[in-house]
Symmetry: C2
Subunit: 194 residues, 2 copies
């Protein structure tokens, strides 16, 4: 039985939703990047630092826009280290699904892990976001946004880990959710976890 | 039901074995790169050309060593086109597993396809090859060989298609066979084919 499931994903590929469904079905805890960030900030930042980062969070981090820029100062390196520790603490507890923050690379030496990557057709991702998180944004803007985030996540991953974002050999299973379907992704992940 | 399953794979990752097992379980035809090559050569080459290519085949193609060099002359371009046509003919018949030769990219516009990529830990691949295809080669030589073939397949894929070898978004499912296990890979592929 895999005790730690990490999910890396393209923005808008339903990786978070899939992660939540997997956690629910297996009775696991679910940790996403916002929780990891907040826990890390609370434990390691002064109130001033936390406010500064929180502004970045609301403007860019949540949607990933300034994801890479965010990590260019010593403060950002400090935050990265803090997030790494939070991810390790969550993983030590076991029975969890961790979405985002390169958890696959951070937990490379942990046992009983299943490292998942979710990607999807870009047009499908636009429709998925338009239906939920990004209702008010025109589709062409969502598409431009996606492409920015894809690049930011690639850079972030290459910068902080010795893996590459979305390259199959760094994950145990990769699924293309727009073809496979969300429910079937959940089935496959749960079956591989057992 | 998916009528066409393509399997791209790292050398030594058991992709061929997995493909054969999937074909057997689903009652599908199994086509590998040697069959594709031979069918293409027979239909499109003069006897002299076929002999020349067959020499390349026995020296390098089979183990992939001169895979990229093989495709640098006009004759090689001609062979590539011929292989493309053979793959399309196999796919038209349906109910088949096609291993190798970038079939995922060649059949991009076909319906009812499932595009699979198999990779594995390099040490595991060395042991897998040592136990079967490459009994007489020392392990360090097998490892060096693997790395060459990985590069050749990447180049070959980038040169002839608009996809990248082993990048998750170009496949519907990618599996790391050394962690997932061969039998479980077969299970997942068959379950996604249904």
């Amino acid at each position: 039985m895999k005790k730690i499931i990490t999910i890396s994903r393209e923005f808008g590929s339903a990786g978070g939703t899939i992660g939540k469904m997997v956690a629910e079905r297996l009775g696991y805890e679910y940790y996403d990047k916002d929780l990891i960030f907040k826990t890390a900030a609370k434990a390691n930042m002064s109130p001033d630092e936390a406010i500064k980062l929180d502004e970045n969070l609301s403007h860019g981090f949540g949607f990933g826009q300034s994801l890479f820029n965010l990590y260019s100062s010593p403060l950002d390196e400090k935050l990265y280290e803090a997030q790494k520790n939070v991810i390790r603490e969550f993983a030590e507890k076991g029975n969890c699904v961790i979405v985002g923050r390169n958890a696959n690379a951070i937990l490379a030496e942990f046992d009983a892990t299943l490292h998942v990557f979710i990607s999807a057709n870009p047009n499908w991702r636009v429709k998925y976001l338009k239906a939920d998180k990004m209702k008010d944004m025109p589709e062409d803007k969502i598409m431009a946004h996606l492409q920015k985030i894809d690049k930011a996540r690639q850079k972030y991953c290459s910068y902080f880990t010795n893996t590459e974002f979305g390259v199959a050999k760094y994950y145990d299973v990769c699924l293309y959710s727009s073809v496979v379907g969300i429910d079937k992704c959940v089935d496959v992940i749960c079956s591989l976890a057992k």
